[in-house]
C-alpha cells in the first residue's frame, strides 16, 4: 500500500514536472515567435518609412533653410568632437605603431602607416561612430520628444509634411556633412600623429607628409571618405525612424535615443565590411 502511494506521488510529481516543462517550453516558443515577428516588423516599418521619406524628399517644396540649419546643427557643432577624436587616434597610432615598427625595423614607415590607416579606415569609421553617438542620439531624442508631445502631429495637422520638414532635412544633412567631418578628422589625426612622432623623434612636417602621402593615390583617399556618406544615410534614417516611432513618454524618448545610437553603430560596422569589400572588388 505504502509503495503504491509512493509510486502515485512520484507519478504525479513527474506529470506536474512534465506539464511545467511543457508550458515553459510553450512560453519560450511564444517569446521566440514574438521576437521573430517583431524583427521582421521592424524591417517592414523601416521600409515603409524609407519609402515615405524618399517621396517626401523628392517632391517640392524643398526645405532649403531647414536643411542649412540642420547642416549647421549636425555638421559644425560636431566638428570639435570629431577633430578631437581624430587627434586622439593620430596620437595613439603614432605611439603604438612606433613601438611595433621599431621591433620589425620599419620605423621609417611610421608616417605612411599613420596616413594610410587614418585615411583608409580609422578616420572614416571613428568619425562615423562618434557622429552616430552625438547626432544619432540627438536626432532620436529630439524627434522622439516631438512625437510623444504631439508636436509631430501638430505639424501634420497644420499641413506640413514631417517627413519632408523633419526627417529628409536631417538625413540629407547627415549624408552631406559626414564626409566633410571625416576630412577634418583625417587632417587632425595626421597632424597630431606628426606631433606625437616628432616629440618622440624630431621629423619635419614636410618630410612626414612626403613619406606619408608617397604611396597614397586618389582612390585610397576618395572612396573611403565618400563611403561615410553611406554611414551618414544610415545614421540619419535610423535616428529619424526611431525618433518618429517613439511612444510611451520620457521612457520612450530614452529608448529612441539609445536604439538610434546602438542600431546605427551596428549598421555602420556592417556597412563598412560590405563597402570595404566592394571597394576592393572595384579598386583592388
Amino acid at each position: 500500500m505504502r509503495s503504491r502511494l509512493a509510486l502515485l506521488v512520484f507519478a504525479s510529481a513527474l506529470s506536474v514536472g512534465w506539464a511545467d516543462t511543457g508550458s515553459q517550453a510553450r512560453r519560450q516558443l511564444r517569446a521566440v515567435k514574438a521576437l521573430f515577428v517583431s524583427f521582421f516588423e521592424w524591417f517592414g516599418e523601416l521600409g515603409l518609412f524609407c519609402g515615405r521619406l524618399a517621396r517626401a524628399a523628392a517632391a517640392p517644396p524643398f526645405e532649403g533653410r531647414e536643411l542649412i540649419r540642420q547642416m549647421d546643427e549636425v555638421g559644425s557643432k560636431s566638428l570639435p568632437l570629431v577633430v578631437l577624436a581624430g587627434a586622439a587616434i593620430g596620437v595613439v597610432l603614432a605611439l603604438q605603431t612606433r613601438d611595433s615598427l621599431t621591433r620589425f625595423g620599419g620605423k621609417t614607415m611610421l608616417p605612411a602607416v599613420i596616413v594610410f590607416s587614418l585615411v583608409k579606415e580609422t578616420g572614416p569609421i571613428i568619425t562615423g561612430l562618434v557622429f552616430s553617438g552625438r547626432v544619432g542620439a540627438g536626432i532620436g531624442a529630439e524627434l522622439g520628444s516631438m512625437k510623444v508631445t504631439e508636436q509631430i502631429d501638430a505639424m501634420e495637422a497644420s499641413a506640413v509634411n514631417p517627413y519632408r520638414f523633419l526627417a529628409a532635412t536631417r538625413v540629407l544633412a547627415c549624408v552631406s556633412m559626414l564626409p566633410l567631418l571625416t576630412l577634418a578628422a583625417d587632417f587632425s589625426g595626421i597632424m597630431w600623429g606628426w606631433i606625437a612622432s616628432t616629440l618622440a623623434e624630431p621629423i619635419s612636417l614636410q618630410l612626414f607628409l612626403k613619406i606619408g602621402l608617397k604611396g597614397v593615390n586618389f582612390h585610397d583617399f576618395l572612396l573611403p571618405t565618400f563611403k561615410t556618406a553611406v554611414f551618414g544615410l544610415i545614421i540619419g534614417v535610423i535616428a529619424c525612424f526611431e525618433g518618429m516611432r517613439s511612444q510611451g513618454g520620457t521612457e520612450g524618448v530614452g529608448r529612441s535615443a539609445t536604439s538610434s545610437v546602438v542600431l546605427s553603430s551596428l549598421f555602420i560596422i556592417l556597412a563598412d565590411v560590405l563597402l570595404v569589400r566592394l571597394i576592393l572588388v572595384f579598386y583592388p
Binding site: S145, Q151, A154, E156, S158, A159, V160, N161
Partner: protein
C-alpha cells in the same frame, strides 16, 4: 471640391476605430452644422481624442465615412488632405507647441508655410493673434518658460493663424486652474460669437461646455449615447448620463 450649400462642414457616419482587440469607436455618427459649436463628452479612454485625430486624418479609420468641408478625407491623397487641413485648426490637449521655437515663431509657423506674407507681415499677424488671446508680452519666450494655460492660449492662436473654417479643441481646459479654464472658455465663446466658426470641443468639463456649446454629445462604448442641448441631456433617464452630469456638477 467645395461642400454643397446644404452639406454641413462635418459629417461623420458609422465611424469605427480599434487598437488591437480594443474597439474605441464603434459606429459614431456626428454632424456639425456651419457655425455650430458641439461639445463631445464622455469618460476618459472612450476615444474622444481619437475622434478628433480621425477628423483631420492624423489616424486612419477602420471603417465609416468622414466628410470634412465636402470631402471624404479617407480617400484623399496627402496634398489634397493638406488642403483640407489648412482649413481646420487643431488645439491639442497639451498645446503641442514647437519647443525649439519662440511663442511668436510658433504662431508664425503655419503662416510662413502656407501664406505669401512677408516676414514683417507674419510678425504683425502673429502678434495680433497672440494679443487676441491675451498675450501681448513674452513673445520671445520659449514654450517651456510659460505656464500650461499660456501654452494653451498660444496653441489656440496658432490654430487660428490660417483663419480656419473649423476648429477642433482637444480638452482645452484640462489641467488648468478654474480662472485660466474660464479664460479659455471665454475665448472659445468669443470665437463663436465674433467669427461664427464651426467647432468641436472634446471635454470633460460639462459646466464649461454648457457656456459655449450649442449641442452636447455624450459618447459611451464607442457610440453616441445621447445628443442635444444641455437641457435635453438633463432630462435623460439614462443611468450613465444622470451619473455623469451629477458628478460633473459636484
Amino acid at each position: 471640391m467645395e461642400p454643397s450649400c446644404h452639406e454641413p462642414p462635418v459629417v461623420v457616419k458609422g465611424l469605427r476605430k480599434s487598437f488591437g482587440s480594443q474597439n474605441v469607436l464603434d459606429g459614431i455618427d456626428l454632424t456639425v452644422a456651419s457655425g455650430e459649436t458641439v461639445a463631445v463628452l464622455g469618460r476618459s479612454g472612450t476615444g474622444k481624442s481619437v475622434l478628433l485625430k480621425l477628423l483631420i486624418g492624423l489616424q486612419r479609420a477602420d471603417g465609416g465615412s468622414i466628410r470634412i468641408l465636402g470631402q471624404e478625407i479617407q480617400d484623399l491623397e496627402t496634398t489634397q488632405l493638406d488642403a483640407v487641413r489648412k482649413r481646420v485648426g487643431f488645439l491639442f490637449q497639451q498645446a503641442a507647441l514647437y519647443d525649439s521655437l519662440t511663442l511668436e515663431e510658433n504662431v508664425s509657423f503655419p503662416l510662413s508655410r502656407h501664406t505669401e506674407l512677408s516676414g514683417a507681415e507674419r510678425r504683425d499677424r502673429a502678434r495680433e493673434l497672440l494679443a487676441n488671446v491675451g498675450l501681448r508680452r513674452d513673445l520671445g519666450k520659449l514654450p517651456s518658460q510659460i505656464s500650461g494655460g499660456m501654452q494653451k492660449r498660444v496653441g489656440l492662436a496658432r490654430a487660428l493663424a490660417l483663419e480656419p473654417d473649423i476648429v477642433l479643441f482637444d480638452e482645452p481646459t484640462a489641467g488648468l486652474d478654474p480662472i485660466t479654464a474660464a479664460e479659455i472658455e471665454k475665448l472659445i465663446l468669443q470665437l463663436k460669437e465674433k467669427l461664427a466658426m464651426t467647432a468641436i470641443v472634446v471635454t470633460h468639463d460639462v459646466r464649461g461646455a454648457k457656456s459655449y456649446s450649442d449641442r452636447m454629445i455624450m459618447v459611451r462604448g464607442g457610440r453616441v449615447l445621447i445628443q442635444g442641448a444641455f437641457s435635453e441631456l438633463q432630462k435623460s433617464q439614462d443611468e450613465f448620463v444622470v451619473q455623469f452630469l451629477r458628478e460633473a456638477n459636484r
